[in-house]
Amino acid sequence: MFETSHLDALEAESIFIMREVAAEFARPAMLYSIGKDSSVLLRLAQKAFAPAPLPFPLIHIDTTYKFREMIEFRDRTCAALGVRLIAHTNRAAIENGANPFDLGVSKCCSLLKTRALLDALKEHRVEAAIGGARREEERSRAKERIFSLRDSFGQWDPRHQRPEFWNLFNPRIDSGETMRVFPLSNWTELDIWRYIERENIPVVPLYFAKERDVLVRNGQLIPVEHNPPLAPGEAPQRILCRMRTLGCTYCTGAIRSSADTVPKIIAELEQAVRSERENRIIDHDRDGSMELKKREGYF
């Protein structure tokens, strides 16, 4: 009697966190990256406020280097659920020629994601931004509070985080500061997929295995959608693969996989020996690179 499954406990915690944000901040928003974590976040938000509409808009930072299938999924989902979407792009940087091939992934990410995100939050005067980051994903994320303060430049100060007790989150910010809030902090990749299975949540088809044209570089499978420059003699190959995480095409490697359904993905992950973000090129360009990006304001 009164037993709670692991997923029910995680769901309850996440819903509590989202309601806390809606209650405590005048202008909250949810950062929506279209990936599996965002899909779970969106379902949890619907549950938190049903039957009312979401009390905040979604913000998508569109680098213009996302997969076509992601943008289609985004527009389909927002239309079907009737949620308000703010898509924001750093137009100035793109007009100045920012792209991952010439600029390098680190600078490109700084301009098209971090800068764009900070600009979007400022433009819409967002006080609290809900994000789908999980502590399990990366070791600097493992250190972050659920309510994580950013100064007026969007920077994280990991050495002086506010202590955080039980579910008593301190929501107070000064003008110019923002709060980043992470309702999925305690979820693992497997939890996400098990919840997607249990709740029958739609996700971008890129997560499912299919034969796709990719470049094979240093063991990474690089999608060819935005025509990355080819090395001499290099040609795309057709490989049965899927995306384990979704980002920009050039920075998200695929993995070899035949898992084309959610149960098969779960079975694959139960046996996985490689980490989730291994194929995210931006995480590995130098030691502690995720922490450095987070300090600048990246999610």
């Binding site: 709670t4 692991h6 915690e13 819903i15 809606a22 399990e136 493992a142 250190k143 202590p163």
Partner: protein
């Protein structure tokens, strides 16, 4: 696949006890570190020239500053599972400077793994960590006596540390400890049994973690549902996370601060209607009656409500460089309420090594003490020992927004204020405009009750202003003070079994709500006639004088009247006779007494 149980545990110890290494071992030997992550740790260890040893701390020390200094600054959360359980590790820093982060980790854990360096024995910081964990409610401790290789796996060293720690643990009521000799760098007795410690045949650390009871802090007997968010739907839904108890459709519940009882009409998780909601679920409920309920209110069992008080004693762990100042305005966050508060007294500081109480009036960084706190609005709480969710709070600096302290409520401050429903008497509060008919009706009700043999008392606003409240004016502050004093007397009378009738304009909703919350046994009677009618009656001539500009601050003319949103009785004195009004009030009182003593 069957759902596995979840154990959240904390790891703590002094600097250099090898805590991060132990966790690295735990993760590695349960195959919870991915190959690519392990490869990068191995590469970093080799680069640092670690003599072939793998520096497992590199797995958990996630911040650059931590890796640079070789210390843990903040809590890292790690996730792993075995076929028996899922685990969340809160890896707490050892350095005293980061005690606040250690306490953060302890607040959500249900067991603690304490590391002790076999060469150093029990250190002050070990005791401090155990004491903080215990204060936050942890009762199960595993003590890993680590680096056994550096003392030649000597059993006497192990037994001495065991004895020392048990001597200290005796001060921590209800705490139990399990001791394991380990060598985490090689993995002895972490996951795999050691071949080098033949004198120890107890469970390994992982075996302990797989079998220690998952202490559930949630209770299912007393309903406590702090209202977190109101969903504006038709009907309205009140959303929140169950702190304790069970919510079922049809249940009688009491809403605080209004003290009103009503019935649960529906319980939902998301859109789905459920038969019951219980901790730790986040639910949304619909109620049978349309009441005025907002964030910070609490829905509780009708017959077993939390304590209601503005004053209470608590244990406070101070987390800021600036010491506590008594009397200084702070903010206090408790359940979903934020109220203004101040610490009125520091009665003792607790010695972290012995938990002995030492006289003091100061509390500084990382110290914990016993204090008395006064809040501007009442809190609805249970002692922390009985209910973590309604007994814990944080203290916030209203200017700089820092979280200054974490607190655990012990009890309401003396004299004990009784919970609503516990008193034998009843307060019947008549509110309304001047000349609406309050005194007429309450006087008649008083006579009837008296004739029926009840102990009854009547406090009339006009009369009280001539003695108890003489000298008070008609500003907002003075009006509130007037009502507060009447409320205080009513509370004393009600507590002593008297039916207390109060007739006072009492124009402000907030103060009426505050009194209602304090007294609990409370009926609100709205004596209602339109202003034009009252002005026509003008029994005391005040409307005429107000219109002539001779009098200022007259309720209804140039000072607001905030009508009750959901009175227990509404007497429309412009449409019914005084006798009809009196009968309706008496019926309500009779109904209340019958419910109380069926």
């Amino acid at each position: 696949m069957a759902e596995r149980e979840l154990l959240r545990f904390l790891t703590a110890g002094s600097v250099d006890d090898g805590k991060s290494t132990l966790i690295g071992r735990l993760l590695h030997d349960t195959r919870s570190i991915f190959e690519d992550q392990f490869a990068s740790v191995r590469a970093a260890s080799a680069a640092a020239g670690n003599n072939g040893y793998i520096d497992f701390a590199l797995v958990t020390d996630g911040l650059r500053a931590e890796r640079e200094q070789g210390i843990t600054i903040d809590v890292a959360y790690r996730y792993f599972s075995t076929p028996r359980r899922k685990f969340i590790i809160a890896d707490a820093p050892g350095h005293q400077q980061y005690t606040r982060n250690m306490a953060t980790a302890a607040s959500t854990a249900s067991a603690a793994v304490l590391l002790i360096d076999a060469r150093k024995g029990v250190l002050p910081q070990t005791r401090r960590h155990a004491a903080i964990a215990w204060l936050l409610g942890i009762r199960n401790f595993a003590v890993a006596v680590n680096k056994m290789d550096l003392v030649g796996f000597d059993e006497r060293v192990f037994r001495k540390i065991e004895q020392d720690f048990l001597a200290f643990l005796a001060a921590l009521d209800g705490a139990g400890a399990y001791f394991i000799p380990t060598c985490s760098i090689d993995g002895d007795n972490v996951v795999e049994r050691s071949t080098r410690i033949p004198w120890f045949d107890g469970a390994t650390l992982l075996e302990y973690l797989e079998t220690v009871p998952v202490a559930s802090h949630a209770r299912f007997d007393r309903l406590r549902f702090p209202v977190q968010y109101v969903i504006r739907s038709q009907p309205r839904r009140y959303a929140g996370q169950l702190a304790s108890g069970v919510l079922r459709p049809g249940d009688q519940v009491r809403v605080l601060p209004s003290g009103r009882t009503t019935t649960v009409a529906a319980v939902r998780i998301g859109e789905r209607e459920v038969d019951a909601a219980f901790p730790p679920l986040s639910a949304a409920i619909e109620l049978a009656d349309d009441l005025d309920i907002g964030r910070g209110d609490i829905i509780a069992s009708a017959n077993d409500s939390p304590a209601v008080s503005r004053r209470f004693t608590a244990t406070l762990l101070w987390l800021n460089d600036q010491p506590l100042e008594t009397g200084k305005p702070y903010l206090l966050k408790h359940t979903t309420r934020q109220v203004c508060a101040s610490v009125t007294r520091v009665s003792a500081v607790l010695n972290p090594s012995t938990l002995a109480r030492e006289q003091t009036d100061q509390l500084s960084l990382n110290e914990f003490g016993e204090v008395e706190i006064e809040t501007h609005q009442p809190l609805y709480f249970d002692p922390y020992a009985e209910n973590r969710a309604t007994g814990g709070f944080i203290v916030i600096d209203p200017l700089r927004n820092h979280t200054l302290a974490v607190g655990m409520i012990a009890s309401p401050a003396a004299p004990a204020e009784q919970a609503p429903g516990a008193g034998a008497g009843l307060t019947v509060w008549f509110t309304g405009l001047s000349s609406a008919g309050k005194s007429t009706i309450s006087k008649a009700v008083h006579e009837k009750l008296w004739a029926m043999g009840h102990k009854v008392e009547w406090l009339d606003g006009d009369i009280v202003r001539q003695h108890l409240n003489k000298g008070l004016g008609f500003s907002k502050e003075d009006r509130d003070e007037n009502v507060r004093r009447i409320g205080f007397v009513a509370e004393l009378l009600t507590r002593n079994g008297v039916i207390t009738l109060v007739s006072a304009i009492s124009p402000y909703r907030a103060i009426r709500g505050e009194i209602r919350a304090r007294i609990g046994s409370f009926l609100e009677v709205y004596v209602h006639a339109p202003l034009e009618v009252c002005e026509q009656r003008d029994l005391k001539g005040i409307y005429r004088r107000a219109r002539a500009g001779e009098m200022r601050g007259v309720t209804g003319i140039d000072d607001p009247y905030e009508p009750p949103l959901s009175p227990d009785v509404e007497c429309r004195t412009d449409r019914e006779t005084p006798a009809e009004s009196v009968k309706r009030v008496l019926d309500a009182i009779q109904g209340w007494l019958t419910r109380r003593n069926p």
